[in-house]
Symmetry: C2
Subunit: 518 residues, 2 copies
């Protein structure tokens, strides 16, 4: 691909700067050979200008064309699967099976968000019919629907080179909303990201969509990101990463004259609580499920479980032994890049001062095995920093002597993306719901947090610090709403309003009539 | 009412401070006799503590009880209408007929938001059914619904002593969401606000709702507000007022460790555009509608029109003459308080340096007549600050020589709550929609912006600086969503999830089934 190494300023490729960087094979820390040109201030500005211009065109094209674009992206990806997966594996160190799953998810997301637009769901169309006879004043007609906010900046995430980067949910949902996107590529998978951008741009060009509907900028330091989020032409930002990274972006955004929304999905330890009855009856099954979840792809998921609260039972030692067995027998897995493994080792070391390490995972280069630690409830209560996320496979068991202690621990949790509860179906699990709903955006019953279903009723986003705006989700149809705002048309005929968004007959409406919406 | 002058810390009244202030009759600038005790830091802290405690109870009560509470508030207000309206008129200088309309609206809002909860609309329940046979992995069941965020702070607005203060839409929608509220009363209608608070608290006590479900704090300076919005127990803030006021609050909120949403509805000039054909055919009708809108209650509405863009026609001078007639023949109207009239006179003076005043409204004390100014498009383009809001009756006509000039002016507008378009039904009014949707949250066809329907499909909130978060509305059912966040329950049986929120049979669901939501 000729454009490799270059920035994409819409349909134009550009590498004007002197600052180059290289992708790295995390399995041996060797750099790949293609130099990637960090975008200059001039290139960033050119991308912003094109994005703004593209918005003026893209926001007015028909819903059908938007849907067609999203569906065609999925087709284009499928036709280039081999190339994409090759770079995905080479740059991330993730195995082929994971690449396949994430690839399928990315294709599905474009199709799925297309459907949210096509069915009218994303438009959230609401209609109040006029009542000219109402006293004392006639009631006007109101039609409310969502329109796109403007150019969106998306930061690629290192742990999902497809599904949270250039081919990811933020890009797909922003394009579905009708917004052009400027991607700040993650420096640790520049090949994957650049190839992805080129493919989307090829589709855009084939469909004669405006130049600037997608821009793709390369950078290994923070300057490009800072420039982007502080520019008045940018109207929303999507970010998936650490709490530190998200808060630094928010601080930059706070300096803007016009406030905009930063949709940041940040850190989460995804605590799992297990009741006494559940542990007594299903210790082995639970150990298997939890260890598989912790082990998965070296734990490099925002939903990887890091904390396990249990009520001690007679079979607790057996349960622990099963976890240790699973952890120690697991193969060493490569982490995403040297920066991630370095940070992992630092966090593991910090954490060792707070807890008892009962199985210290082996490691070699960027390859790791999971580590298992334990502590008791009293110690956890006095050292709440134990709950802070360690990105990578690492589980801390918090032993509680009874349910009261367990609840005390849960009460101390910071906001989480997820919480999980293992309980027997005959016990009243609802007793835990007040605390679990207060602490998280998704609650899993008798299951693990990894595996985020891309679905209608999904909520991926929880109370601070797991997210910056817990009303919104970064997965599922509602993700599109982050990049829209509603407009109400008053006194326009329904026919007139309909033409405005080129509704087709498949579009669903919510219609308020006779005191009910339907 | 014994509690008059005191703060309400839940069911307890308290006036520990030394700082007292007095309500003022704006018709003669005479203070009323009851001293109002500004809340001390200790009292603010006590309110926050009670609010947090109340949340833990209120968030878990049944939907039915929440609905019952809201409906009973409306009944209680109706039973105390006379007392409320007496203070409303005495403190605001607004006439009886306006008080009646605003009172009816406030009662309606409590009933209407109750209905949004009762029907399930506000819960936004979404269900994905499980598919245990899906390959490669079974699909889990997901049930998504909204839960309350926590204690909410609402700042009373001076221009709606009922409908945007203690009895207002922010309070009603936060209570409907399941959140306790701390009201920072507006210092210019402390009697109205205190009586309102006492009535809501009477209902809460009758219904054995938790102490702290409502707190009502008095203050005439910014210290109480600052304390409130920076406290970690507060999870959302509602504000209606000036751009300066909203931005100052946002700055304080930016200093918090945990970011929270400030739902600020700020300044708007609510521009009206009139096409050449419309002015040629309906000059007199349009002049009547616009002057009535500008004149209404001395223009003290967030939706009062301040800018009129017209294409000059042969009958333009007649049109202008009609406006001057209406303005000059109007009675002097009392502004809300001396601070408002002072600011109005300052703004009128500043503005006079930018435009040609063609009718200078008379004034006397806090009483004013509307002022009419004009300028041309070229001057407007070079001096875009002409568009900045003047709170109170004041209209600036911007003469455009053709449609191109008119569109150039519209392109320069900052974000607005509303824009209005007068056009003939036979001309293609859609040509203005791209710019009007880009600039505002509500577009009115052949009508004026005043009169905000409290309705299902309403959008009251537009691009910055008219609002701080244009996704949300402060009027209509969607206003409730500002004080909620969604939680998804995974693997819970539908029966189980249903019990959780005590659904009744009238609750509507969105159910995703066979690729369609229904």
């Amino acid at each position: 691909m000729k454009s490799l190494g270059q920035n994409h300023i819409g349909y134009q490729v550009s590498g004007l700067g002197n600052h180059v960087f290289f992708g790295i094979d995390p399995k041996n820390n060797h750099p790949f050979e293609t130099p990637f040109y960090q975008a200059t201030a001039e290139e960033v500005d050119a991308a912003l200008a094109k994005s703004k211009e593209a918005f003026e065109v893209y926001r007015l094209i028909s819903i059908e064309k938007r849907v067609q674009f999203l569906k065609a992206i999925s087709e284009k990806l499928k036709a280039n699967k081999e190339l994409l997966i090759q770079w995905f594996c080479a740059e991330s160190g993730l195995p082929q099976d994971r690449a396949e799953v994430e690839f399928a998810r990315s294709c599905f997301q474009f199709e799925y968000y297309a459907k949210a637009v096509e069915t009218g769901y994303a438009l959230e169309i609401k209609i109040d019919s006029a009542d000219p006879d109402r006293k004392p004043n006639p009631k006007p007609s109101l039609t409310k629907l969502n329109i796109p906010v403007g150019p969106v900046v998306v930061f690629g995430a290192s742990n999902f080179p497809f599904a949270y980067s250039t081919l990811g949910g933020d890009v797909a949902s922003a394009l579905a909303a009708g917004c052009p996107v400027i991607v700040k590529a993650h420096a640790m998978h520049p090949h994957t990201s650049s190839v992805s951008a080129q493919l989307i741009l090829d589709v855009a060009k084939e469909q004669q969509l405006p130049d600037g509907i997608l821009c793709h900028l390369l950078a290994e330091d923070f300057t490009v990101g800072q420039h982007l989020v502080q520019d008045p032409r940018v109207k929303a930002v999507g970010f998936t990463g650490s709490i530190g990274g998200g808060m630094a972006l928010q601080k930059l955004i706070n300096e803007r004259k016009e406030p905009i929304s930063l949709y940041a999905e940040m850190g989460s330890s995804n605590p799992i609580a297990v009741t006494k009855s559940a542990l007594e009856k299903r210790a082995s099954e639970i150990a298997k499920q939890i260890s598989a979840s912790v082990l998965l792809n070296a734990g490099q998921f925002c939903t990887s479980p890091g904390l396990l609260f249990i009520e001690e039972t007679a079979n607790f030692n057996n349960f622990k032994e099963e976890l240790i067995q699973a952890f120690s027998q697991s193969e060493l897995q490569c982490m995403l890049h040297p920066g991630i493994s370095k940070r992992y080792f630092e966090r593991v070391k910090e954490h060792a001062a707070l807890v008892d390490v009962i199985y210290a995972g082996k490691h070699e280069g960027n390859f790791i095995q999971p580590t298992l630690a334990e502590t008791n409830a009293a110690h956890f209560v006095n050292n709440p920093q134990i709950q802070e996320e360690i990105f990578g496979s690492y589980l801390t068991i918090v032993r509680c002597s009874d349910e009261a202690e367990l609840r005390k621990c849960l009460d101390l949790l910071a906001g989480q993306l997820t919480t999980s509860l293992y309980a027997e179906s005959e016990e009243d699990a609802t007793r835990f719901l007040p605390v679990l709903t207060a602490k998280s955006g998704r609650i899993i019953f008798n299951g693990v947090p990894t595996g985020v279903e891309v679905s209608f009723a999904q909520q991926h986003g929880g109370p601070f610090p797991s997210s910056l705006n817990a009303y919104f989700t970064s997965v599922g149809w509602d993700a599109i709403k982050r990049f829209q705002r509603p407009v109400t048309f008053q006194n326009f005929s329904e026919d007139f309003s309909s033409k405005r968004v080129n509704f087709n007959e498949n579009v669903s409406f919510l219609h308020f009539l006779n005191g009910k919406y339907q």
